[in-house]
Symmetry: C2
Subunit: 210 residues, 2 copies
DNA sequence: GTCTATAAAGGGATAGAC
DNA sequence: GTCTATCCCTTTATAGAC
């Protein structure tokens, strides 16, 4: 693996476990098996620039899970519930780390590191765009899809935090079931967010290509 | 105000803006207008103990908002939607700080500070107990109330994070509307979480006393 | 490009005068 | 109980040999 890849990957891993402030350049160099000077050779912006790249990387990786997890389910509500359940299982199985550092790092640095906050905002806007496109392709009207995407992302980030503290999957199950119920409501109420003609149409690859 | 109160309050404020690792003892002493030695006189456990007390304090304060915000609404779904909307307005009005440090600090230190993680877990369990009691008093069956409480807390914590990054109230509105829709679903489906006999009964002071 | 050594600053914590 | 001075360690970042 290239040196700069090792560095940004190690940063991503440390960010999700310790956050930004607690992750020192020396610890990062050790984790990436690269000397201190090498970090500044590849990233002249130092710690902040490395964190920015790591956030963009992990953000892009994690949004890909959306179609991967939901495509197999013909019933969107069922898929949502299953996806949240699996996220909870994954956390328990890996010892309750955070699954994606974007949320926790954003909470930590939003008021103190304006450049990194803007990076987080870009990543989140990308999530929202891709999510809205996906749920629109799954039959929701664009406004309903946008709102649902916001709700899914908020519930997911919050479930990470709650589960990380409580060490229970309960937040994931509760969030998944609530969101699934909402999707079923949308499907039942005509004109309340579902386009009749393609409500049952699968959205194979709707987001994968973007 | 007593010195130890000034210290824990200042810690709470710094925690929600910068997180745990970035909050230094010296900065804390400055913010609390107390000399360094005074901190260790009142809290022999140092930074960690001060943070623990601050987390418990802010956690206890914030759960009191639940009945305060929801009691005025006879329709629970309407109340949920309004409460989330107000949380979003508050964040915008105050410049997008975190409203409660428990979530963000938990995300930051869960893997690194076991004692503080346990404190966060205690605070969160207290939230869940009080929330379950409240929503039960508002007409949900105990299991539905527990699940709904988990979903509300996860959505709230996640909305904080998303709004902090995006600087938009959209996550609050989306989360509030989704949860409100779910409550309405529960109210419509007989036996699906609402006890018929007291579904409309107000829960004045159900949590206030505990 | 890789790596070492070090500078300059700040961290948490403590001892002890007052 | 209040406050100061200081210890020791780690931090980010750089300079310069290889």
């Amino acid at each position: 693996m290239r040196t700069d890849e090792r560095i940004t990957r190690a940063m991503g891993e440390l960010l999700r476990r310790q956050g930004y402030a607690a992750t020192g350049i020396n610890a990062l160099a050790r984790a990436a098996e690269a000397p201190t000077g090498s970090l500044y050779h590849h990233f002249r912006g130092g710690k902040r620039e490395i964190a920015a790249v790591a956030l963009r990387q992990t953000g892009a990786v994690h949004i890909q899970l959306l179609p991967l997890l939901l495509d197999p389910y013909e019933d969107l509500a069922e898929g949502i519930e299953a996806a949240f359940a699996q996220a909870g299982d994954d956390m328990r199985g890996t010892g309750w780390p955070n699954m994606c550092p974007v949320g926790s790092v954003t909470a930590e640095i939003a008021d103190v590191e304006p450049e990194l906050r803007e990076v987080s905002a870009e990543v989140m806007r990308d999530w929202i765009d891709k999510g809205t496109a996906y749920f629109t392709a799954r039959g929701l009207t664009p406004p309903a899809a946008a709102e649902f995407t916001h709700a899914v992302l908020a519930a997911l980030e919050g479930a990470f935090v709650m589960a990380r503290g409580l060490r229970t999957e309960a937040p994931f199950h509760a969030a998944g079931r609530t969101l699934a119920a909402h999707v079923r409501t949308l499907a039942r109420e005509e004109g309340a967010g579902v386009r009749e003609e393609d409500a049952a149409v699968r959205a194979e690859g709707a987001v994968a290509g973007s």
